[in-house]
């Protein structure tokens, strides 16, 4: 089955304030998400830059900042520096107080909404398509039908 949505969660024995720091601060982002540092302007529209020793640099844009509860960003999954709806996926963290600790949930969406970059679009698709979106259920149904 092909799904366009990744959803995971974990229980953490630390208060939301502490988890929030780890999820949003550059010093920590550069350790658990990047592995060679990060830069973040923690406000909607702010830039996010992640560095890896072996994989270079990724660019993102902060989307949502609700202290101790919601943090979301877009990051570029291929080509280009500026995240747009067509070249990036959306990652959203939700922090919920639970038993003196925190339940941390992450949802990444938008894989099936990835459009090809303009130059690739010309190369692959010519003029016969314009800004498509593939519906997830369509792909799933399709995937199942060819395996039937």
């Amino acid at each position: 089955m092909v799904t366009d949505r990744i959803e995971r969660e974990i229980a953490i024995a630390a208060p939301p304030q502490r988890v929030w720091e780890v999820v949003t601060r550059a010093e920590h982002l550069g350790a658990w998400l990047g592995d060679a540092g990060a830069e973040i302007d923690l406000r909607p529209g702010g830039r996010l830059v992640l560095h890896w020793k072996d994989h270079g640099t990724a660019h993102g844009r902060v989307e949502t900042v609700e202290a101790y509860s919601t943090f979301a960003f877009r990051w570029v999954t291929f080509g280009g520096d500026e995240p747009t709806d067509d070249n990036s996926t959306l990652v959203e963290f939700t922090l919920t107080p639970q038993d003196g600790g925190t339940r941390l949930r992450v949802v990444e969406t938008g894989f099936a909404g990835l459009a090809v970059a303009p130059d690739q679009q010309e190369k692959h698709l010519g003029e016969n398509t314009e800004g498509w979106r593939l519906k997830l259920d369509e792909l799933r149904t399709y995937s199942e039908s060819v395996h039937a």
Partner: protein, 105 residues
């Protein structure tokens, strides 16, 4: 399978004509562009263009047979797409573990 490959699969399947052609190939096993052009309302040239996109995405494979080129579907590519999404999910599990470790230390 890289994120770009993933995107290639999604892009190739975005076009209804290409999905129809892929369906035809799944049903027939193997077919030439000329044979496919009989069942879809576009020219053989247009069919070839679509088959090339499917080929680039790894969704079909082509082989020469005499004077014809025969195309065959590769549904395993869709399975690979699903597997790739599972890998990405596993990466998030690792990252959440790291967040937990840092937050609890």
């Amino acid at each position: 399978m890289s994120i770009d490959d993933l995107d290639g699969v999604f892009a190739a399947l975005a076009d209804p004509m290409r999905r129809q052609l892929l369906d035809e190939l799944v049903g027939r096993g193997e077919a030439s562009a000329s044979a496919l052009a009989v069942v879809v309302p576009v020219s053989r040239q247009a069919v070839l263009k679509h088959l090339n996109v499917l080929d680039d995405a790894g969704l079909v494979t082509a082989r020469r047979s005499g004077r014809e080129v025969l195309y065959r579907a590769r549904p395993e590519r869709l399975q690979a797409t699903a597997a790739r999404m599972s890998e990405l999910a596993a990466r998030w599990d690792e990252r959440l573990d790291q967040i937990k470790r840092i937050a609890e230390s």
